[in-house]
Symmetry: C2
Subunit: 279 residues, 2 copies
């Protein structure tokens, strides 16, 4: 099973047996004051710069999130999508909790996008899934619901199963679902990493679905966060991670991902590992 | 369940929920011509230097293997064990395929050692296990037998089960068995890493036994082998690796292991990770 997202004259495939691809996370005002300020003023220069830098660093898919206080996402999200398409050909992940903003953004993009995201809440599934079905997009699915993010592997799997069943009933293809098993901070609960990894391992082995993950939560509050994030991605790759949402500019991330893909049997003969090494 | 090995005024514990410990691999003439030459001449200067350097680099246990062509192991192995005990207090792993050499080496060491190794062959179990039982040592158990190293997870598990049953029947404690799930070269068979990791995951979750592993085979024939070895150890730590046999002088190995322990929930609140980081 392969998930395909398209851009200008290009497509990106990912799946359990394929090399890991990066969904670039930097176009997101959370924790980035300067970007939040620009977006509030309707400026998209930094968005364009981030798109270029991340594509240059090897990110395959560009996530676009403009959700800052004082921003009208329905107006700005389509503009940001257009701005990114002007400067890079990469496939796009449209990231918003506002269904109207997502619909408006999808209208300006002629390619197959990844929509970020739906949860197991009835309201969320009812809002997002028809949009995804109609447009033939792919969909990031979070293993949480009205009650929040469960601490137990079984409960996260139950929510994922509910989302799969709902998508099945609407005729959304299984390969267009991309599950986020959710990463919590490991410094406050040493079990957090294991719960995410075990959920991912079971979900992918039982349903064969693709996965994504925002790795960086794992290292919150700890020194040398990049080292922790890189090694958590390595552990995730052997447990079924397909397309992490991360910062491609992190030093050492790509060689580590290529190493992990090779070790996980997802890069036969290490062709990609060796090619990257020689660059 | 915890495995305990002792040295002069010290003990080293390892197990599935504990931080990973290093069994230092450098005192081994395989692939080290200068060391092989010294050992042939009965010289132990390099053995002592290696012991000191590896203990200094943070290795908890020192493996001692003097098996080179032209060496009488029954004579030299006990001498090498004494030489190492003279310079470092660390617990020792005595490594030989010659049971007489192992018996002679155990006689000169007053501590609880790790014996490396037994296989699933009847002959090997009959030679090694009484020695281990009598001395109260711990034992490295290889998941292979007369027919070699199986490619299939199930078959490696069957051999491991046979060794566990035999040890049980002799009254050897389960915590004194340390399984090596065996690492083959990934560049010739992209499935090799996965087979080792899956064997380790199943063996540890089904029997709770401790594990060891010689990681470096995985990267044979590839560029930047240290990167591959480090990330394979990270993947192994989330799958139940307790005490890898490796070179503690590899740059970046220890911080990566501390990161992996923290992420795998084996270093509560990251105390060891943070302590090492501050050094």
């Amino acid at each position: 099973m392969e998930t395909v997202i398209t851009g200008k004259d290009c497509e990106v495939k990912f799946g359990l047996d394929l090399p890991t691809v990066i969904i670039a996370e930097r176009i997101n005002p959370t924790g980035r004051k300067a970007l939040a300020e620009e977006l509030k003023q309707g400026k998209l220069d930094m968005v364009k710069e981030d798109a270029k830098a991340q594509a240059q660093a090897g990110a395959e898919i560009i996530d676009i999130n403009v959700g800052a206080v004082g921003v009208d996402e329905v107006d700005l999200l389509p503009k940001a999508v257009k701005a990114v398409m002007e400067v890079v050909p990469n496939p796009i992940c449209i990231d918003s909790s506002n269904p109207k903003a997502l619909a408006a953004a999808m209208e300006v993009c002629p390619y197959k996008v990844l929509i970020n995201s739906v949860t197991g809440e009835e309201k969320s599934m009812e809002e997002m899934m028809p949009l995804v079905k109609e447009s033939g997009s792919a969909l990031v699915c979070l293993a949480c619901d009205d009650a929040g993010i469960p601490n137990e592997v079984e409960k996260r799997l139950e929510i994922a199963k509910k989302i799969i069943d709902k998508a099945d009933s609407l005729g959304i293809k299984r390969e267009d679902l991309v599950f986020d098993c959710l990463v919590m901070t490991n410094s406050t609960d040493s079990n957090s990493g294991k719960v995410t990894l075990e959920t991912m391992r079971r979900l992918t082995s039982e349903y064969g679905v693709a996965t994504t993950m925002g790795a960086s939560n794992i290292s919150f509050g700890m020194p040398n966060r990049d080292l922790l994030n890189i090694h958590f991605i390595t552990m995730s790759i052997i447990n079924g991670l397909c397309a992490p949402i991360t910062d491609p500019l992190i030093e050492g991330l790509r060689p580590a991902m290529r190493a992990a893909d090779f070790l996980a049997g997802r890069d036969p003969y290490g062709m990609k590992y060796i090619t990257d090494y020689r660059k």
